[in-house]
C-alpha cells in the first residue's frame, strides 16, 4: 500500500458519493488470482463468485469506477460477507478485503439507511444502546432479573421462548449468568502488579463483553497482575465501535473511537489489553477510520500501537507455567478477528499448552468462522447456522471443552451445543489459564 494517509474524496464518476469510500489503492492491489475463494465460508457454501472475496472486491471496484451502480448487484454480496477476513490470511498481494467491505457498507448506509423495523432495531442497538454504558447497565439489570428470579425457567417451562425464531431461542438459552456489576465499575480503578512491575496496562472492557462476560475480565486482571502488570480500568471508556463499522455506521464508530482514544491517552499506560477478538481488531484498526483526518489518524496510530490481545500481551511479557491442573480434553477455535485480523494464532496455544493436565487437540479448519461474526448470526441466521453446524461437526471426538478468544464465538458455540444437547463447556483462553493459577493457589 502506498500510504496510510490519503484524501478520501469520493471518486468523481463512481457510485460511491460519500466521504470515506473504499480506497482505490486498496482494491487496485487485487490481481484477481482467486486464491481467496476456497477459504471464504460463503463461497464454500454457495460456490457463487458474487459471494467470494475476489468477486466482492471486483464489484466494489466496478462500482467505484462507475461501471456499476450501488444496487443489489453490489449491496447483496457486500452484506453476505461475514467480514471474517480469512481471505486476507491467504491473499498473496495483501488486499485489505475487510476494510473494503466495511467502507462499502458505509456507502450503503448513506445511500440507503436501514429502514422499517429492521432499521429501527439496528439504530436502537448500534446508536441507542451499545455506545451508552448507563443504558447497558439497565439491560444488565433486566437480564439479571430475568435470570435470578426464575423468570427464564418459567418462560422456558411455559414455552414462551418458542415465540422466538429458533436461532434467537438458542442464543437466549446460551446467555451466561449476568453478575451484579460490570467490571468497568466493580473492579478498582487501579490494581497493583504482583511482584516487580513489568508495565502498566489498561483493560478494555467493551459493551457486550462487560454485560455478559464480566468474569472473563476479572480473570484477565488476575492473570495480568500475576505477571507483573499493573492494571488500570478507565471508567469513561465506551464500546469499541466494531458492530457499527460492520453495519456501515461509520460516523457513530468514529465518535466512539475518538472518545476511547482520548480516554486511554489520558491513562498513560504502556499497553491496552483486550480479551475480545472483535474489539481488539477494531481498536488496532482505528487509524482506518480516520483516513481523511490526519490529526486523528496520527492519534489513532499512537493508540493502536499499544493495543494487545491478552494472549499476545502475556506472551510478550512472559508467563510462568501454572502448577494447578485443568485435567480436560480440549480444542482451540481460532476467532476470526484474532487469527485473521490480528495474526494471533500461536500465543493462545502456547499459553494453553503450558497448563498441566489440559490435553489440547487440534480440530480441522480451526480458523474457519463459526458463524457468529458480530451480529451476522442475527442478520443472516441461515448461513450462520450452516457454519455453526460445520464447526460443531469438526469438534474432535471426546473433547470436554472448546476454548476461544471472543465473546461472540463463545455465545454462538454455546447456543449450538445446547441445541444439540452436547455437554461441552466453552471457555475463554484466559479463563482456563486463570483456573489453573487459582487451583495452584488453593493447593498452596
Amino acid at each position: 500500500m502506498a500510504s496510510d494517509q490519503v484524501t478520501t474524496a469520493a471518486p468523481r464518476n463512481g457510485a460511491f458519493l460519500w466521504p470515506d469510500a473504499p480506497a482505490p489503492e486498496q482494491y487496485e492491489v487485487c490481481v484477481h488470482c482467486g486464491f481467496c475463494l476456497e477459504v471464504c465460508p460463503t463461497y464454500q457454501e454457495w460456490r457463487d463468485e458474487n459471494h467470494s472475496p475476489r468477486g466482492r472486491v471486483f464489484l466494489i471496484q466496478a462500482a467505484a469506477e462507475g461501471r456499476l451502480s450501488l444496487d443489489a448487484a453490489v449491496v447483496d454480496p457486500v452484506f453476505t460477507c461475514l467480514d471474517c477476513r480469512a481471505c486476507e490470511s491467504v491473499c498473496p498481494s495483501g488486499v485489505p478485503v475487510g476494510h473494503l467491505i466495511e467502507a462499502a457498507r458505509g456507502q450503503v448506509y448513506h445511500a440507503d439507511p436501514p429502514r422499517g423495523w429492521r432499521g429501527a432495531l439496528a439504530r436502537l442497538f448500534l446508536r441507542g444502546l451499545f455506545p451508552h454504558p448507563r443504558r447497558l447497565g439497565v439491560v444488565r439489570a433486566l437480564l439479571r432479573l430475568w435470570q435470578r428470579f426464575g423468570l427464564q425457567c418459567l418462560a422456558q417451562r411455559l414455552g414462551l421462548l418458542r415465540l422466538l425464531p429458533p436461532h434467537l431461542r438458542a442464543l437466549a438459552v446460551a446467555l451466561p449468568e449476568v453478575t451484579a456489576r460490570p467490571a468497568r465499575l466493580s473492579l478498582p480503578e487501579r490494581l497493583p502488579a504482583a511482584g516487580p512491575r513489568k508495565g502498566r496496562v489498561a483493560l478494555f472492557t467493551g459493551c457486550v463483553m462487560d454485560v455478559l462476560f464480566t468474569p472473563v475480565h476479572e480473570a484477565t486482571v488476575r492473570v495480568a497482575q500475576r505477571h507483573g502488570l499493573e492494571v488500570v480500568v478507565p471508567r469513561d471508556q465506551v464500546c469499541c465501535g466494531a458492530l457499527q463499522v460492520h453495519a456501515g455506521d461509520r460516523p457513530q464508530a468514529q465518535a466512539l473511537a475518538r472518545r476511547n482514544i482520548t480516554v486511554f491517552a489520558e491513562s498513560g499506560v504502556d499497553y491496552i489489553a483486550v480479551n475480545a477478538a472483535g474489539c481488539g481488531a477494531m481498536l488496532k484498526e482505528y487509524p482506518e477510520l480516520f483516513r481523511g483526518d490526519p490529526a486523528w489518524h496520527a492519534r489513532a496510530q499512537a493508540f493502536a500501537q499499544r493495543v494487545r490481545d491478552i494472549a499476545e500481551l502475556l506472551a510478550e511479557v512472559g508467563t510462568e507455567p501454572p502448577r494447578g491442573r485443568v485435567p480436560q480434553r480440549a480444542t482451540y477455535h481460532d476467532a476470526c478477528h484474532l487469527c485473521h485480523a490480528q495474526g494471533v494464532r500461536v500465543q493462545p496455544r502456547q499459553l494453553l499448552r503450558s497448563v498441566p493436565g489440559l490435553e489440547l487437540v487440534e480440530m480441522p479448519d480451526a480458523e474457519r468462522c463459526c458463524g457468529s461474526a458480530g451480529v451476522y448470526n442475527l442478520t443472516h441466521p441461515e448461513m450462520a447456522q450452516t457454519l455453526l453446524t460445520r464447526k460443531l461437526d469438526d469438534l474432535p471426538p471426546g473433547v470436554e471443552m472448546v476454548i476461544t478468544g471472543n465473546p461472540g464465538c463463545i455465545l454462538q458455540l454455546r447456543a449450538g451445543l445446547a441445541q444439540r444437547g452436547q455437554r461441552i463447556a466453552v471457555r475463554h483462553t484466559v479463563e482456563v489459564l486463570d483456573a489453573a493459577y487459582q487451583q495452584e493457589e488453593e493447593q498452596a
Binding site: F35, E38, F58, S69, A72, P92, A111
Partner: protein
C-alpha cells in the same frame, strides 16, 4: 455465434429455471458481473446467464437446451485460469461446475479416484492423504483450482518435471459433448482401445466438451523428500546449475527459479522468506524417492550448486521450512500485486540449455520498454513465467505490456520452444498461434474442433486466431456497446441514490 443476441431468450430462461431451479440460475444482469473474466483480466465480457448444474444429466440437459436455442456456452471451474479460457466474450452462458465438487469414488488398492470436475485439486490430495496417497499435478493455484479446469488446460505444476502433466494422470472421463450427448472416453486400466479421444479432450480448453466425471491416477507419497534453497549472485550461474543437475542424471521432483524482482515481491507478502536483496536468482530444488537415494541425490545437488558459484545452499530442516519455501514460490504470481498494480503473466517454453540467453533477451526487453519484468519459472523443464508489470491507469501501458508479452513468446518459439507450457492459449495467445503454427497446422486442429463442436457453440473464439481483423474489431465494438449498455442506466441511478436537497434519500434497490 452471434454478438447481438446477448439477451437471454425468455423461453430458454424458463426452461433453464425448470431444469435447475431458481437458486441455480443467475440471469439478472446485476448478478453476472462477477463472471466477466477469470484470472486473466485484460479482456472481459458479460455472460447471458450463469448456471450451476450438479450432475452429468443436468449438464447434458443444459447443453441440449442451449443447442436448441443456438446459444453459445462455456464451462468454468474456479476461474483461476490465466489465459481467459473462461471469459465470456460472446455473451456465452457460463456453465459453472463449482458445485459439482464431489469425490465420487476412491480405489486405494488400485490407486484410482473418480471425481466431479469442480473438486479442488488440493482437496483430492487431502481426502486421500490418510492412506499415504496424493494427486501429483500441482499447479500453483492447486489450493483453489478445480480438476475439471486442470483437465481442460492440461495443467502442469512444479512437480511435472518428474511426474508429468495432467494428461499423464487423467485416465478416463465422462464427457458431455457440445451437442449434449454423453460419452465415456479413455480407460481406467490399460490403454484405451481405438483413437485416443481422451488425449484430444485434455488440454482442449473447453472447446471439445465438458468433462463431468474424471478418473485420475493417485500416487503413493514418496518415502522421503528433501528440499534445497540455493541463492545465486548471477542468473547465469543458476541456469547453469539447472542444466548441470539434469546432465548429471539426477531427476529432481522439481527445480524452480525466481529472479530478484519476484523474490522482492513475495518477501513483501505473508509468505516472507527473507531473500537477500542483492541475490539475482534463487533455485528451489526438491528430490524425492526412497530414503537412502534421496540423501545421496541431495548431497550431489548441493555439491553441484556449490560448484556453480551458489552464494549459499540450505536444505530444509523441517516441514514448516519446506512449506514456507514452497508457498513463497507458489504465491509469487499473486504477490506481484505488492509491487505493481497490474501484470501479465506469460507462459513460454524453451529448451533448458537456452535459459540464460532468453532471460538476457527478456531483461533487454524490460530495459527498452521501461516495464519491469519478474521471472518465476519451472526451470527444470524450461517453462518460463515472465510477469510483466504495468499500470493500466497509464494510457498505452496495457497495450505495451501485451506487446512485450507477445515478443517474449515469439522469442520462445524462435529458441525452439512454444507459446504455452501450461496456462493454455485461451483468448490471450490466439494471435501467437499463427507464429507457432502454419496455416495447414492450424487447419488440421480446427478440423478436429469441427468434428466435436460443429456449430461452434462450445467456448467459441478460444484457442484459435480469429480469421481476419474485422471480426476482432466487431467484437471489441460489441464489447464497448455492452459496457455502454451497463452504464447507460447509471446516471439516473446516482441521482436517485444521492441525498436530495432536503436530505431525504430514496433508495432504489
Amino acid at each position: 455465434m452471434s454478438g447481438t443476441a446477448q439477451v437471454l431468450d425468455a423461453r430458454l430462461l424458463q426452461a433453464l429455471l425448470q431444469t435447475l431451479g431458481p437458486r441455480r440460475v443467475l440471469h439478472q444482469p446485476a448478478h453476472l458481473h462477477a463472471y466477466a473474466c477469470d484470472g486473466y483480466v485484460a479482456q472481459q465480457g458479460l455472460p447471458r446467464a450463469v448456471v450451476f448444474p450438479e450432475t452429468t444429466e443436468e449438464v447434458a440437459a443444459v447443453v441440449s437446451l442451449l443447442n436448441q436455442y443456438d446459444v453459445p456456452f462455456l464451462p468454468r471451474g474456479a476461474g483461476t485460469g490465466l489465459s481467459g479460457g473462461a471469459t465470456p466474450l460472446h455473451g456465452e452462458v457460463v456453465i459453472s461446475l463449482a458445485r459439482m465438487n464431489k469425490l465420487l469414488a476412491v480405489d486405494l488398492e488400485n490407486l484410482r479416484a473418480v471425481v466431479q470436475p469442480g473438486l479442488v485439486n488440493l482437496w483430492l490430495t487431502k481426502r486421500v492423504a490418510h492412506a499415504g496417497c496424493y494427486y501429483a499435478p500441482d499447479p500453483s493455484s492447486q489450493s483453489v483450482c478445480t480438476l475439471g479446469g486442470n483437465l481442460a488446460e492440461n495443467a502442469g505444476g512444479s512437480h511435472c518435471l518428474k511426474y508429468g502433466v495432467t494428461t499423464n494422470h487423467v485416465l478416463a472421463a465422462k464427457v458431455v459433448l457440445p451437442n449434449g450427448e454423453v460419452v465415456d472416453l479413455g480407460a481406467t486400466y490399460g490403454d484405451a482401445v481405438g483413437y485416443d479421444l481422451l488425449g484430444l479432450l485434455v488440454g482442449s480448453e473447453g472447446t471439445l466438451g465438458i468433462a463431468t466425471e474424471i478418473t485420475v491416477r493417485l500416487l503413493k507419497k514418496p518415502e522421503a523428500v528433501q528440499t534445497a534453497l540455493a541463492l545465486f549472485d548471477r542468473v547465469a550461474d543458476a541456469s547453469d546449475t539447472v542444466s548441470a543437475i539434469l546432465r548429471a542424471g539426477i531427476v529432481p521432483a522439481a527445480i524452480e527459479m525466481m529472479d530478484q524482482l519476484a523474490m522482492q515481491a513475495v518477501d513483501k507478502s505473508h509468505y516472507h522468506v527473507g531473500y537477500p536483496p542483492d541475490a539475482e536468482a534463487v533455485l528451489l530444488i526438491e528430490v524425492d524417492g526412497l530414503a537412502g537415494g534421496v540423501e545421496e541425490q541431495m548431497r550431489r545437488v548441493v555439491e553441484l550448486c556449490r560448484q556453480h558459484a551458489a552464494r549459499s545452499v540450505q536444505v530444509a530442516q523441517c516441514e514448516e521450512e519446506r512449506a514456507l519455501w514452497w508457498s513463497s514460490r507458489k504465491m509469487a504470481f499473486g504477490a506481484t500485486g505488492r509491487i505493481s498494480p497490474d501484470y501479465i503473466v506469460q507462459d513460454g517454453v524453451i529448451p533448458r540449455t537456452r535459459l540464460t540467453e532468453v532471460l538476457q533477451y527478456i531483461a533487454d526487453l524490460s530495459r527498452n520498454s521501461g516495464l519491469r519484468i519478474a521471472n518465476v519459472f519451472h526451470a527444470g523443464d524450461g517453462n518460463l513465467h515472465p510477469l510483466i508489470c504495468y499500470d493500466a491507469r497509464i494510457p498505452g501501458q496495457a497495450e505495451l505490456a501485451a506487446a512485450v508479452g507477445s515478443q517474449i513468446l515469439r522469442a520462445c518459439v524462435d529458441a525452439g520452444g512454444s507459446i504455452t507450457g501450461e496456462h493454455g492459449v485461451g483468448v490471450e495467445k490466439r494471435a501467437e498461434m499463427t507464429y507457432q503454427f502454419c496455416d495447414a497446422d492450424l487447419a488440421a486442429q480446427e478440423a478436429v474442433r469441427l468434428v466435436f463442436n460443429p456449430r461452434n457453440l462450445c467456448n467459441p473464439g478460444k484457442l484459435f486466431p480469429t480469421p481476419g481483423r474485422c471480426s476482432e474489431v466487431r467484437q471489441s465494438a460489441w464489447l464497448a456497446a455492452q459496457f455502454a449498455a451497463v452504464s447507460a442506466g447509471f446516471p439516473e441511478q446516482t441521482r436517485i441514490l444521492a441525498p436530495d436537497r432536503q436530505g431525504r434519500q430514496d433508495g432504489v434497490y
